[in-house]
Amino acid sequence: MTSPSASTTAGAPLAVDAPAPSAAPRRHAARSRIAWLQAAPLTAVFVLFFLVPLALILMVSFWRATDYELIPAFTAQSYLDIFAGCGSGEGSCVTLSTYLSTLKFSLLTWAITAVLGFAVAYFLAFHVRSTLTQTVLFILCTVPFWTSNVIRMISWIPLLGRNGLVNDMLLATGLVTQPQEWLLFSDFSVVLAFVHLYTMFMIVPIFNSMMRIDRALLEAARDNGASPWQTVVHVILPLCKTGLIIGSIFVIALVMGDFVTVGVMGGQQIASVGKVIQVQANVLQFPAAAANAIALLAVVLLMIVALMRLVDLRKEL
């Protein structure tokens, strides 16, 4: 029998050569059936709450809609509308500029959270010696997550506003003579909020990878004359690749789909792909919203595939 595939071969490759050739396939079949049964609940949840809705979105993206009804059809009009104006050279390709703006935020946020996350995790994993302090500091990192996303975001507004605390301080110290307008409702404030919200998603997986590094390796590096910096670059960083990639997937997926942070911190003036989808869904243009959602999904999947190329997650975990 060749049917017991990936799931069993990985677990028990040696069992295939077991002494009783007649009994083995039957036991295999039974075991594989149990394996399927064990996987069934999760599969069912996935099918019901992920695959079916996704298929529905895909289906609706090819429909037509009026102001009040969805008309089953098969038309690519919604997809064509996404690219309306692109290629005409007038620079009115909304989708492209929206994606570029969203990508820009993703990359900036990713770069900053990666550096910050790595530094914080490094400190927690290698500088803090006692496990108790480590745990306490780690919990401290998660405390902001006890309040809502939106509240953490909104709390920046009185700080950064025209008459906010930062501007008051700058004016009082004489560093500037006019209130600084770029602090709020700007690219800066959006990136700031993203970093504030999502650094934790970097810290956790990187910290996890770091805790699994064998300390003997670090000693070996030192014994071989590596400077601390060289140890970080040549030993720790490569061994944390898995954590970095997992964190990156979190951050990129979150930023790409966001519409609340960009809305609140950008003063609703900065476009994001999520915002476009939200506006369309709000005015009942479901096919257009669905087509945009599918396009966004494709882009994010491509990015994740690219990241997965960098590291074999299944092997590393």
Partner: protein, 434 residues
């Protein structure tokens, strides 16, 4: 009888008679209980408190109104508060999720074609013939007001209760019974602008670069933008509420140029956002809603709901009944609508700066000095307080925009749903992305 445990072991024949009698008694008692149960069921049900699920935006859903209605009639109101867009979305996609809807008139062009709302029988509405002529004829004090956009009179009536198209002339069946309406204009911070503002064009005046804001609800924002375009003398729209693709392009182009020039500090979508932008001084001139201006003022910050020479953009909301509603629930919904028009709720809304559907019943429930301030535009003879007791205006001051006739008579256009809505939203997203 066999269910009597004593019956089985007892062999005495004599006893059967008593057993039977005892059993008979039990059986009848049981039957009696069953009968009482059946007849009792509707009785218990009738005693149970009726609850109406009222779908609408938070703006109109005041706890005091629900409490007063329950005290008067025993019917509970359960508020379901969502955004303007979501009210429409629910009416179209989930008509079973509410018993009473409070929606804007312009949304009707999306809702009525689905057949999810039933025309309201005006014969069952006591004050139906007293509803202001603004809705029934598009007139104030006998004078026609602007009807660009989705003016209520265009979508007020249905030929039959289940019609999916609007009737051209008044009929017995109304789509919505008006609850509140008002006329919107620009809100300004007079203390920071320090000069009179008279025209919509000031919104894009470079003098307020980085200190202006506009509404980010496409269908309403584009109308405000159209008021500005007309005020600038760039173009005169045949109907601002129903633009052609070319007109949409022109309007959005004007907005994009302004945005690229850094005119806007922010766009706002939520009532509270507009209050915060204004109160914090981030913005000194923006499209605004009347209760938001009131909210800024209650913080002790000067804010004017500035009447402008080009007129107002008006909006109106009303009660509708879903077609799934029947029997006692439908009666309760009608009772609520009738109660709403009886004056107490109207007076309550008028004191918030809105206008109510039946003015004469509301007048009876307001103090003469309140009526003079809110409706006649006269200087207040004593302090004007909000329904929950906050000071809104000191004695001697008068309301922005003057009397009811002056204000509602100055309507230039109504909130609308355009034929080119899909295209308009696409272009609006372009403006946001620019």
């Amino acid at each position: 009888m066999s269910d009597d445990p004593n019956a089985l072991p007892d062999p005495a024949i004599d006893d059967t008679a008593t057993m039977q009698r005892r059993g008979f008694l039990k059986a009848t008692a049981g039957a009696g209980a069953a009968v009482a149960g059946i007849t009792g069921f509707p009785y218990v049900h009738a005693q149970e408190k009726m609850t109406l699920r009222y779908l609408g935006t938070a703006v109109n859903q005041d706890k005091a109104i629900a409490d007063k209605f329950e005290a008067d009639t025993g019917i509970k109101i359960q508020y379901v508060a969502v955004t303007t867009d979501d009210v429409t979305k629910r009416a179209v996609t989930a008509p079973n999720s509410f018993d009473l809807i409070d929606t804007e008139y312009f949304s009707l062009r999306k809702i009525i074609p689905t057949g999810n709302l039933l025309g309201i029988d005006s014969k069952r509405i006591r004050n139906a013939d007293k509803i202001t002529t603004l809705f029934t004829k598009g007139e104030i004090g006998g004078k026609k007001v602007g009807d660009q956009g989705t003016a209520p009179k265009k979508v007020m009536y249905l030929e039959k209760p289940d019609s999916k198209t609007f009737a051209a002339a008044p009929t017995q069946y109304m789509t919505l019974i008006p609850t509140v309406y008002n006329a919107d204009t620009l809100g300004i911070r007079p203390d920071l602008i320090k000069r009179p503002i008279e025209s919509w064009k000031e919104l894009l005046n470079p003098e307020f670069k980085g200190k202006a804001a506009i509404l980010n609800i496409p269908s309403i924002g584009i109308m405000d933008a159209a008021m500005v375009v007309e005020a600038l003398g760039v173009y005169k729209y045949p109907d601002k509420g129903n633009m052609t693709k070319k007109e949409i392009d022109l309007t959005i182009k004007t907005l994009i140029e302004a945005k690229k020039g850094g005119q806007f500090r922010a766009l706002w979508k939520d009532f509270n956002e507009s209050v915060n932008l204004m109160a914090s001084g981030e913005v000194v001139i923006q499209s605004m809603w009347s209760p938001a201006v009131t909210a800024v003022r209650t913080k002790g910050i000067a804010c004017t709901f500035q009447p402008l020479k080009e007129g107002y953009r008006a909006w109106a909301a009303g009660f509708g009944v879903p077609k799934t509603l029947s029997g006692k629930k439908a009666d309760a919904a009608y009772e609520f609508i009738n109660w709403f028009l009886d004056g107490w709720a109207g007076a309550y809304l008028n004191r918030q700066g809105y206008y109510s559907a039946v003015l004469e019943t509301a007048k009876a429930k307001m103090e003469p000095y309140e009526w003079a301030y809110w409706m006649e535009g006269k200087p207040a003879t004593s302090d004007i307080k909000s329904p929950n007791g906050d000071l809104l205006a000191k004695a001697g001051s008068s309301r922005d925009g003057g009397s009811y006739e002056a204000r509602m008579g100055g309507i230039a256009c109504w909130n609308a749903l355009m034929d080119e809505n899909v295209y308009m939203v696409q272009k609006w997203n372009e403006f946001v992305a620019a």
